[in-house]
Assembly symmetry: C2
Homo-oligomer: 303 residues x 2
């Protein structure tokens, strides 16, 4: 396989797999490849070797994009730290990959993984063509990437962290060290915990897929719980409307499959925490690229 100048390789570093692909400037996906279950415990050099190998096998030419989870120094392409990859600290991702692949470091674009996914969804997915949108990922936590004026907006590097908007002051402790963050109430993990606590659904407590099915079919305890979870999510989105007045929210991640049953709650939560007529024109959309969003976005950023 060999890429052409009008194609870019994108890579998405996830906790359980490293996904990659090659994408044309026209949005055509030419090849994709996964590295399942990489041994992060063998250290950064091992993982970077594997990523370089993946890029080579996809025919990387003169530019590459990579999405990594964690706190970045985006200007330098450094991973400062990554909560999920404890031994990946102060890592010169750009320099190390450029050296391994013989690329100009300026052509290696390093981005936060949620931001890369947002770019992917805006380019080819659920946020396609949207000028302003917040792309959320409902998973272990709640990640987010902001598209403003058609471009990724990262601020000083960590914009879009909607998961840590405090919706319940003095509420549940969060891994970030604060309390009451929305991801403690409305991530997939939080929803599972709430379902378990409520003993729902009765035949399979904590099973979100089953919970969602039941919420969809009958007006019972499962639907009420989904409403509560959705409302908490909407409470976290209220400040987004107040501050940015954007009306398009795109939901990805495993739990976004429940968007239809979460929607009434989400709208109630937004209504409670923002004002004016704008709530009525809010659109809640599903992400469509699934696990490809990250590497497609990373590839886009490398053009």
């Amino acid at each position: 396989m060999s890429g052409t100048a009008a194609e870019r390789v994108g890579i998405d570093v996830g906790g359980s797999a490293i996904k990659a692909g090659r994408v044309g400037a026209d949005g055509s996906v030419h090849a994709k490849q996964n590295w399942d279950a990489p041994h992060f415990d063998r250290g950064p050099a091992h993982v970077l070797d594997g990523i370089a190998e993946l890029a080579r096998s996809l025919g990387v030419r003169d530019a590459l994009g990579i999405g990594v989870p964690g706190l970045l120094d985006r200007a330098r392409g450094f991973l400062i730290e990554s909560p999920n990859l404890p031994n990946f600290k102060a890592l010169d991702v750009r320099g190390e990959l450029a050296r391994r692949l013989g690329l100009d470091p300026a052509r290696v674009h390093v981005e936060n993984d949620a931001n890369a996914a947002a770019v992917g969804e805006q380019w080819l997915g659920g946020a396609r063509g949207e000028r302003d949108a917040l792309v959320l990922t409902l998973g272990t936590g709640i990640g987010g990437g902001l598209i403003l004026n058609g471009e990724l907006f990262a601020g000083e590097g960590m914009a879009g962290e909607v998961g840590h908007v405090v919706i319940a002051p003095g509420g549940r402790a969060c891994g970030c060290g604060r309390a009451g963050c929305v991801e403690q109430y409305a991530s997939a993990t939080a929803a599972r915990r709430r379902a378990l606590e409520a003993g729902l659904p009765k035949d399979a407590p904590g099973d979100l897929k089953r919970l969602t099915e039941l919420a969809r079919t009958a007006d019972g305890a499962e639907r009420a719980l989904c409403f509560e979870v959705g409302r908490d999510l909407g409470r976290g989105l209220g400040p987004v409307l107040c501050l940015l007045d954007i009306r398009c929210f795109v939901f990805g991640g495993g739990f976004s499959a429940a968007l239809d049953v979460l929607e009434p709650g989400i709208r109630a939560g937004i209504e409670e925490r923002s004002y004016g007529e704008r709530q009525h024109s809010v659109r809640l959309l599903r992400a469509t690229l699934g696990p490809k969003a990250g590497w497609i976005g990373a590839a886009k950023l490398a053009f």
Copy 2:
């Protein structure tokens, strides 16, 4: 007086005065003029006549910018409604002024007043040269305008409304119809109310100037109250860091004179409602253009 092509007239419609001036492309202020105590109760036509007169006397040529309080249809230059000017509704500000002044409507730029002030401060004031900043006005309420990537960001038109970020769910009722909005705790009006309730300062309850002086000179009840008010303000800014990761906040409006005594509280509130290392690089600055910010920004938008 006569303006040149490299100058613009800017107008700021406030509740107690309409302020205007002419500004050069280089930021030089050539003339200013106020219309004190306009009779808003005589209706929109009367006020628009007066604004046109003001613009003519300032030598308006082919373009004009105007900041108005309220909800706009920015694309059409319409004032949809204005909470402070009840009989100004569905008003074609752009068309009416263009007709009165013989201007091309496309050259009449209508903007929200807080947004216009933010543009002014970023051009020539306290946010000068900042790439990303939130410019706040601490007055009757808390207004805000967002500068992102060096440009005004308005979203669908109402971005920057930080005053209505909910910091205390189920808290004090707000004029917006919701409860617990930050402006119910940290605007000048709210601070005055809190001071009155606390009987502070003892010699002049509710006098914010005196309260601030005492907070500055001694570690007593006045300082503690300013800390509380500041902390509530900071709680409203926490989501701004989470969502946008911007680090520059510029405070204008009468109550911003108290910024030095509010600052410890503001930082504590931000710390409580956002996370990571970014809090430490937050800069809290004073706006410097005072009542000129609005019309200077409006003029800038007309270039």
